[in-house]
């Protein structure tokens, strides 16, 4: 099982390197902020863990705090990225 997961990990790293290789510099910030939002994917780990910890209050607290922090990362990250990209877009619209 772990061989498969390790392969998956390697392939995903290569995919990530290939996906981002050529990015125009004006998109560096949105790209970074967008991938920052994606790193909030750890929310699914926290969500899977939290219901399993209900017999231990401390573990439950830790895992629900993880859900909340990850949610800030996800929601805030996407909204801030969208705000930035909206500015890029309105500019395009005006220049025609």
């Amino acid at each position: 099982m772990y061989l498969t997961l390790a392969l998956v990990f390697l392939l995903a790293m290569f995919l990530g390197l290939e996906l981002i290789r050529k990015v125009p510099s004006q998109l560096h910030t949105p790209l970074m902020s967008g991938s920052n939002a994606i790193s909030g994917i750890c929310i699914i780990g926290a969500m899977a863990l939290a219901p399993l910890t209900e017999d231990n209050l401390f573990a439950l607290l830790l895992s629900s705090a993880a859900v909340a922090f990850a949610a800030i990362n996800v929601v805030g990250g996407y909204v801030v990225t969208d705000r930035m990209l909206a500015m890029f877009q309105s500019k395009k619209g005006e220049s025609k």
Partner: protein, 483 residues
């Protein structure tokens, strides 16, 4: 296994990959961000479905999971909506730190749950198998990594936030033996990590590893000067992806592993782009305490202090009025002064006056990769007015006026000539070859990186001192008075 959830996870992975891909081109970027958000939504709904399917989704679970999401959303949306565009880098740093601490909490929470009702190592390992379906030692190794990298990401990002928002000094903080202390902390945490991997019932090990990771996060970022922040921010971004990836191995979630690795890799690429833009290696950025060394650019070999020429906005106007070709070189000072709208206005007036205008953006100008592009986009500067250093440098001699707005190191000619300079070898915007240079600056003090700039003392350079926004507004007023 719930088939709907499986399909959702597949869709989610596809959404993230296409979303990232679309973020590469300006035309599709905004849609790409939406697609990636869709991927996130699919992952969250899929995870909920799995939990319900497994019968774990009772009232308490619903309260904690949905409550956690609600709290996070209630904090995240206003924070993201209200932040000023100029404060964007520190906001992104902070969000990134929250992702890191979430990974740490996942590892910690799972271990806490595993040891709660177990009295010996075998029982803890059984519990870990029951929780994750994985092999105990792999799970605990991944837990250690998630905690370590997550903790480094968290405090590292918080320090980056502090430096960027100027709550903390932006100067590198160095002390003797720093690298030794950091090295010992790394070795110590690895040793404790191996111990923990073997004996996860010794949860007290985590209580040492967690503070150690916090210390390491601070230690990694404090020696780095403000000018190197774009590198650090991209690197921390990469770390938060790797932390999520480790958490994925800890809770045995392939989707988390894939997406964490994607973010980790893309962060590494951005870090590399930033390092190349400064002609420095990553190791050099991380360990050299860049900017702590101060050179003597303003003082000649004989020790004689040079004089910089000071110009009033009125005099600057007369030169600009006659100029055929003007370039703006924005830096962090433009962000601080919030001068981007005034810059756009002045650029428009210059264009109306028959002048060719370009904004030349250095890849590491500002505090975040692409920082200046965001600000100029906010001010609606046209895309075709933007240029990169390679576009302008070859024809710099034909530029009548280069207006440097709060940029310093990216126009410092010492990078080309002075081998002793800490930024020697960094590609710069060679404004010193333009016919005239106006440097808008608050004072004659050296730049964010703490290096004096010989540009200021060249015969074609004039300093226009004062708040950049006020100076540009004064220029605008001069142009308007002429009409």
């Amino acid at each position: 296994m719930n088939y709907v959830a499986s399909v959702l996870f597949l869709l989610s992975a596809v959404g993230f990959i296409f979303g990232l891909r679309m973020l590469r081109a300006p035309a599709t970027a905004r849609k790409g961000n939406m697609v990636s958000a869709g991927g996130m939504l699919a992952a969250i709904v899929g995870t909920l479905l799995v939990t319900i399917d497994q019968g774990h989704f009772n009232t308490l679970a619903a309260l904690t999971v949905l409550g956690g999401i609600a709290v996070g959303t209630a904090i995240g949306i206003p924070a993201a909506k209200l932040v000023k565009m100029t404060a964007m880098p520190e906001m992104v740093a902070l969000f990134n730190g929250f992702g890191g601490i979430a990974s740490l909490l996942i590892g910690w929470g799972q271990t806490q749950e595993a040891v709660a009702h177990a009295s010996n190592l075998a029982e803890v390992e059984d519990k870990l198998i029951a929780l994750t379906g994985g092999q105990p030692n792999v799970v605990t190794l991944a837990t250690f990594l998630a905690v370590l990298i997550g903790g480094i990401t968290f405090t590292g990002s918080v320090v980056a936030w502090g430096k960027l928002s100027e709550h903390l000094t932006s100067k590198p903080v160095l002390y003797p033996g720093q690298n030794v202390v950091n090295g010992l902390a790394v070795l110590g945490s690895i040793a404790l990590g191996i111990w923990f991997t073997m004996q996860p019932d010794q949860i007290w090990l985590l209580y040492i590893i967690i503070p150690l990771s916090f210390v390491l996060g601070v230690a990694v970022v404090i020696p780095i000067g403000g000018g190197d922040m774009p590198v650090v921010i991209s690197l921390l971004n990469s770390y938060s992806g790797l932390a999520a990836c480790a958490a994925g191995f800890a809770v045995n979630s392939p989707l988390l592993i894939i997406i964490g690795a994607l973010v980790g890799a893309s962060g590494l690429i951005l870090t590399r782009i930033m390092c190349v833009a400064m002609n420095r290696s990553l190791g050099n950025v991380l360990f050299s305490g860049f900017g702590a060394v101060s050179t003597t650019g303003g003082i000649t070999a004989t020790g004689e202090k040079k004089e910089a020429r000071i110009l009033s906005p009125q005099d600057a106007y007369f030169v600009l009025e006659a100029a055929q070709s003007v370039i703006f070189v924005p830096g962090y000072g433009m962000a601080v002064a919030q001068a981007q709208h005034a810059v756009k206005q002045l650029a428009d007036l210059l264009v109306k006056n028959g002048c060719d205008v370009k904004h030349v953006i250095h890849p590491v100008a500002g505090r975040m990769p692409g920082h200046m592009n965001v600000l100029l986009a906010e001010a609606n500067v046209e895309y075709d007015q933007l240029a990169v250093p390679e576009d302008i440098n070859p024809s710099m001699e034909s530029v009548d006026v280069a207006i440097v707005i709060g940029a310093n190191d990216v126009v410092n000619p010492a990078a080309l000539t002075d081998k002793a300079s800490p930024i020697y070898g960094m590609p710069i915007i060679e404004v010193h070859r333009a016919r005239a240079v106006f440097t808008l600056k608050r004072s004659l003090a050296s730049g964010y990186a703490g290096i004096d700039n010989p540009l200021f003392y060249l015969s074609n350079n004039s300093m226009v001192l004062g708040d950049a926004k006020k100076t540009i507004e004064a220029l605008i007023a001069e142009f308007k008075a002429e009409d």
